[in-house]
Symmetry: C2
Subunit: 605 residues, 2 copies
């Protein structure tokens, strides 16, 4: 048994209690600003904190900490937040300004939102009176009377009922989903009530196992979405699934099997039985959502891009073959539109922009970037067709944000510096690196507003067929080839970032405000957390507002699913929230072409 | 195309319209008294009627009519009701007093109760607007909006929805069961809405196919219940089913296959597709009810005899494997108690005793006889363990009421007359024959009040081991053996009829009335329709009240299921009715032993 643990973060003065997470994870869960650009891998060294008080014990400094911290720093209590756990007792942690920046992550992968527990699944332990000649009520009605309300049950539960009641000596626990009885279990099992929140991403599937009694997240598992073999982007998966019912079924099976293996891992890790998982909530973009349900995404792919279902719907887990209680239920977090999925809705749940007076903007950058703008009165939503360049595709040396990718670039005069994910030799450049590169190239006068090289005699520009700017020379790259960017690449990128600016400009116009009047900007999704704010503003990827009001929402998707899993009130709020959302189809807006053309060049002077 | 037909019965002056039923069937459907002891087989000749006006055409007199009617009778317009159909035009039929008797059948097999159509299954034809960029509502929400209310649907319907809507060019018919969408069909299919009412009797299964648009019964099919091979009575089937889950499943499969073949026959006969049958309602005694649902009847068989479920419950047809629309629903008419099944409830639906001011008594005689007493305020119910003698079992020459059974006996001095079902040579004696025989033997002074032979020298008494009264000598029997009754047989019968008297006596006492104050008696079930009222009163099988208030309810079971199928209001009334019913367990009543001992001897002086 572990001791009671409490950690207070200063200067916020917020206290959290947990010994199983790192200080970085705890800070993120409490919405406290702490940098963590490498995602907690111990690579970037930016989550440096100072332990100012400890009554209890800490984990020993790791090798990674010793790499980043000097001996006297360690002596003064400096640690890396991503490496340090408070094992017991009370601890006060100071986060120095250098570890803060404008990046205030309000939620990260696997971190819990605090919400009063009010799950849809409820258990009641009942001691039934035995039948006598004076009381010959049928078994089912006896149970219903003890429950105090009408409750339907399946034929399967009904058929098992006489044996269940008598074997349990009339002491049973009734499990309900809404007012439907989904299980009758012998004895008192009220403590064994679990749920699963799943984020079905197009590249990654994340699964959190949650106790619906304590609210605690017991296990977090994730893996790659194996549908990737049928296309990295959603459009290829729509195409594949639309070809035949068998293809659709194949994609559905792939994701269901993946979820089941994640559930199995989570159950093994926490020592619970899948039979005690009674509800699963899930988020995903519209295509992932449809493929999981076995519903064709064909018409999401063709104008006017309509999904088959958008509302919050629930289906029996057995109809989907999910590894959980056989009478359990699976609930879909609603979609907004064909290209604005329930991951965007999860974003709204976490950022709470629909509960605020000030107008907020959220941007989740991807092949189709979801942009939402609004407040408690109204929320406008659009999907900007930003293309794959933010994900490193369609760029000569582009790659995903995985180890070996150049993720940030800094140009000072003649000197170009970059950082690489995993501190390895570079193999290519990912989206956040391209943003930095293009902004820095422009600020350094290497390229024009429209992305043309000003001087082909620049020492880093080589002309090999077409002119190329060399980011890393072949002798410093892992591939032994130059890592470069061409004018065509830059143009591709400018088209992409132009589409984002067009999105938030049209939303602001429609809302009737100037973008500078936006109170808060949330950068959502894993991509958002790697973006350099200043460069993003230079390129008009986001509007130019007070930096301290630009926040990183992190990967909100699974968190949103989890809030809906834990609370029926949150679901109700969600329903109200959705009623406030108005979708703007950019491509049919009269101002679209004008805005788009104006948005492509770099506008910073 | 057949002409419009109308038949008016005099002296009632009631008019009914139908060319597909015989005059006997039409009279029964309109609750008009017309004898039909042979069940409409053309054998008894008691349904003689006179055609007093015809503008149109009648069926030609059959051979059976020519056997029973003299030439001049036919010339005067006399016909047999069971043989005659009005083929076209208007006809007025007079029912002479001799064709009436005290037997007023209020409902018979296959006859429809008039009830305003208000089925639970409803269809709506919708013309949906097509999606545009200005209206990108998802398919499901588009349908729901057009429907004007929330409606759930299964994953299967959802998955088919995009193709269904587009293939049907957005013109569809939505089928709902309560507020659940159970089908979305291309085009306008509102006219193709059917339901099935099933009576699962322990010996016979009856199935009626009903249009839920016109209310018409399109086909009536019936067959033997093949569970008979596992025991004729419910107790043996409980025993068999309780031995193993496989046995229970076997009995369930037998009845489901039987129902499916009856549905198939009904569909073929009326040219409709099983896919257009959306609901099935069924009645049956508690054991038949449980076996059909695959729910163990074990605890109905042991004290205190509790069923697993009694309320009106509905389950998806696919969970039972019923041949109907795959999303259709199966609804159980509620049970009252372990030994008072939904067939008794159907009886209440048809007799409407729960809507009347006067107190009515209904008796359905069988191995366990269901007795109900009450009015609009309260209904008492009990089950009298009357044993199998009313069904011809446990009696030396006893047999079921099938061709060859002596069904009525009349003794005048030395002369004994009997009638045989099917006008054949006798093989044995059935329940109604035993009632007549015992009453007549008592009235003729052959037996004492306690059923002992007064004079062993009676010409019809032979002593062959034990004394036996000969009903039919071997030279007049089909078996070439004497058909006889022994004192032991008579005693067995007196115990059975004593149990019935005990039932209605205790119910009357509990209700606080004298049995003579009962307003109306309904004899239910097929057995009831064959009983001679006078003899039944002589033996105290029923209380001695004004003969004109003793009615034959006939086989009410399928009719009750059909009323519930046609009308949601009838189901609601049923729910209210059930709340008024109080069950009396006879065996634990303090007065039971005293009453029972007093009820065994014949009490008529």
């Amino acid at each position: 048994m572990e001791d009671h643990v409490s950690v207070t973060f200063e200067p916020e003065g917020k206290t959290v209690a947990d010994s199983s997470h790192t200080l970085l994870e705890l800070a993120q869960s409490a919405n406290i600003s702490l940098r963590g650009e490498c995602g907690g891998a111990g690579v970037c060294g930016k989550c440096k904190v100072q332990i100012i008080k400890i009554v209890g014990s800490l984990s020993e400094p790791t090798e990674k900490e010793r790499e980043h911290l000097k001996e006297d720093e360690i002596a003064e209590g400096y640690r890396l937040g991503c490496q340090t756990k408070v094992l017991s007792g009370r601890c006060t942690v100071y986060i120095p300004p250098g570890s803060r920046t404008g990046k205030r992550v309000i939620s990260g992968i696997g971190l819990d939102e605090e919400v009063p527990l009010e799950p849809v699944v409820t258990k009641v332990h009942l001691s039934l009176t035995r039948p006598t000649f004076a009381d010959t009520r049928p078994d089912r009605e006896r149970l219903e009377d003890a429950l105090g309300e009408d409750a339907g049950m399946s034929l399967g539960i009904l058929a098992d009922l006489p044996a269940t009641l008598r074997n349990a000596d009339w002491e049973v626990t009734v499990v309900r989903w809404k007012n439907q009885i989904i299980a009758v279990e012998p004895g008192d099992t009220t403590k064994d009530t679990f749920g699963i929140a799943v984020d079905i991403g197009s590249s990654k599937v994340i699964c959190h196992l949650v106790s619906l009694v304590t609210g605690e997240t017991l296990a977090r598992t994730h893996t790659e979405n194996p549908q990737i073999m049928y296309g990295e982007d959603v459009v290829s998966r729509i195409t594949y699934a639309s070809k035949s019912p068998e293809n659709l079924l194949k994609l559905q099976e792939l994701v269901i099997n993946t979820i089941n293996s994640l559930i199995e891992m989570a159950c093994n890790e926490s020592g619970i039985s899948p039979d005690t998982i009674y509800e699963m909530t899930f988020v995903g973009n519209s295509v992932m959502h449809h493929l999981f349900l076995g519903v064709s995404p064909k018409y999401i792919g063709v104008a006017p891009f309509v999904p088959v279902v958008g509302a919050m719907v629930s289906f029996p887990a057995k109809d989907l073959g999910i590894l959980m209680n056989c009478e359990g239920m699976v609930t879909a977090i609603p979609l907004i539109e064909g290209y604005i999925g329930s991951d965007a809705v999860a974003n709204l749940i976490i950022t709470k922009i629909g509960q605020k007076n000030g107008v907020s903007l959220t941007i989740d950058i991807g092949t189709n970037s979801e942009i939402l703008l609004g407040n408690r009165d109204k929320i406008l939503a659009c999907s900007a067709p930003s293309g794959p360049s933010f994900e490193g595709a369609h760029i000569t040396s582009g790659m995903k944000a995985v180890p070996g990718a150049i993720e940030s670039v800094d140009i000072e005069g003649e000197i170009l510096r970059y950082t690489v994910i995993g501190d390895a030799l570079p193999k290519g450049i990912c989206g956040s690196g391209v943003i930095d590169l293009v902004a820095e190239l422009f600020l350094a006068g290497v390229i024009t507003k429209t992305g043309k090289f000003r001087d082909l005699n620049h020492p880093r520009i080589i002309v090999d067929g077409v002119p190329k700017f060399v980011i890393a020379w072949k002798d410093e790259s892992a591939t032994r080839s130059d890592i470069t960017i061409t004018e065509k690449d830059i143009n591709e990128f400018l088209l992409a970032k132009g589409s984002l600016k067009t999105g938030w400009t049209i939303l602001s116009e429609t809302y009737g405000i100037d973008p500078s009047q936006i109170d808060t900007i949330y950068l959502a999704g894993s991509f958002g957390t790697h973006v350099d704010i200043e460069n993003a503003i230079t390129l008009s990827i986001i509007p130019d507002i007070d930096r301290k009001n630009i926040l990183f929402a992190g990967e909100t998707a699974v968190g949103g699913a989890k809030m809906a899993l834990k609370s029926i009130s949150e679901r109700e709020k969600l329903r109200q929230l959705l009623a406030k959302i108005e979708y703007i189809e950019l491509s049919v807006e009269p101002s679209f072409n004008r805005e788009y053309l104006a948005s492509i060049p770099i506008s910073r002077t």
